[in-house]
Symmetry: C2
């Protein structure tokens, strides 16, 4: 029987979602928890990798329950053995052919910026990028240049072999966060290339500092050259909000 | 020259504000930072102690700058040497007779409760008490019984020698927090006895579970007996919001 999990995690202590040779990962922790529950190796398939230090409120994953374990209350069982920085937010039975990664239609990330230069609240240090003052209007104009379907090669970091670098950005919205000093950028797209969300934020922040004009953004996009775009924004500000199917 | 500091801290890693023989404290970290800046022992006087695990957005403290160090940009200097979980939010010159503790007129704490039983976001684990579902109306009625001037002996934990246990609660307000699943209780009072804020929250949560009626609250207050009141709420949900002078 196939199940769909919705997971939230504080990614601060992790080397990202995907199992690696070294370091803690969220996928490995969930698989360890599964093993503790049913003494079987159960593979957990995530909707996408999140980088080291990136958080999630709505990561999605699927797994097939081993025979004889169909009626386990998975949410409760997993939460009772998982570390406190990973929580199962929901668990539902899924269609036999549901696949967390291949069936995903859109993903939404949000990125939180602390835009006050006067002070900083340390409670937020693992969840925001403290940029100091930014001008929002140029950021909105820059965001407008990124909407739609483009080749996002200039926004993709190395390290993946991917043929199709075209993605569609459906929406970039600007809101206030849990403090008035916080600016939250939500980016919804058909998919994200490696570190694309953080590279988009890197560009928007440079626009907010008036170091890039909206036409610079278009040039960067058209150049298909990663070296022409600003540095990748820090991982800690990023959170995978939801995956739509 | 006397200076007033406003401090924010993530109290998770600390044994509270006040210097102790063992363990990290916020006061000790600030005094260490002062020593690194001017190679002199400078005493930092806080407006009040906060318990181990309790946070602050607006703790206040004062100190006298050593001779020759009057013109140091203290906020920037301290922030450059303090650990990242303590930040100086503001620093101003204060009157010669200003005293962070003795001049305080009122203090305001807020306490964050996570009141959804369905799920929990682990990003919030060091800053909220996850109580599950609570009914808000009985909590508001219970809060109403605590407003005004009372002997709060039933709400004071042992460990301090204090003569006058009378305090005035000026306001208890209820708001939604940074997630819709969060209920934030703000408590403003003339002063707080040892763990009084957390004991008030302990009582209000029992009211929200319908385990205490508003008249039970009045009885607890009148009994002046700590053993008749519910358990102290966990430290992690509490935050010192501001001190008024």
């Amino acid at each position: 029987m196939r199940f769909m999990l919705i997971l939230a995690y504080d990614g601060t202590a992790y080397q990202g979602w995907q199992i690696q040779d070294k370091g803690l990962t969220i996928q490995a922790e969930v698989e360890k928890a599964m093993f503790r529950i049913c003494c079987k190796h159960v593979r957990i398939h995530g909707a996408g990798r999140t980088d080291a230090g990136v958080h999630a409120l709505g990561q999605v994953a699927h797994f097939d329950s081993p025979q004889g374990f169909e009626h386990i209350p998975w949410q409760r069982a997993l939460n009772s053995v998982l570390p406190h920085n990973i929580r199962i937010v929901d668990c539902r039975e899924a269609a036999r052919d549901f696949h967390a990664r291949f069936c995903a239609l859109t993903k939404e990330y949000f990125y939180t910026l602390w835009i006050s230069s006067a002070f900083f609240y340390p409670q937020r240090r693992n969840f925001v990028w403290n940029t100091g003052h930014l001008e929002i209007q140029p950021m909105k104009e820059a965001a407008g240049r990124l909407l739609g379907t483009h080749d996002f090669t200039s926004f993709m970091n190395k390290g993946t072999q991917i043929k199709d670098t075209t993605r569609t950005i459906l929406d970039i919205s600007f809101q206030t966060g849990s403090f008035p000093q916080e600016l939250v950028l939500s980016i919804r797209a058909s998919g994200f290339l490696k570190q694309m969300a953080r590279n988009i934020v890197g560009v928007l922040v440079q626009a907010g500092r008036n170091r890039l004009s909206p036409s610079d953004i278009s040039s960067i996009l058209q150049s298909r050259d990663r070296t022409l775009a600003p540095a990748t924004a820090p991982a800690r500000g990023l959170c995978l909000a939801r995956v739509e199917y």
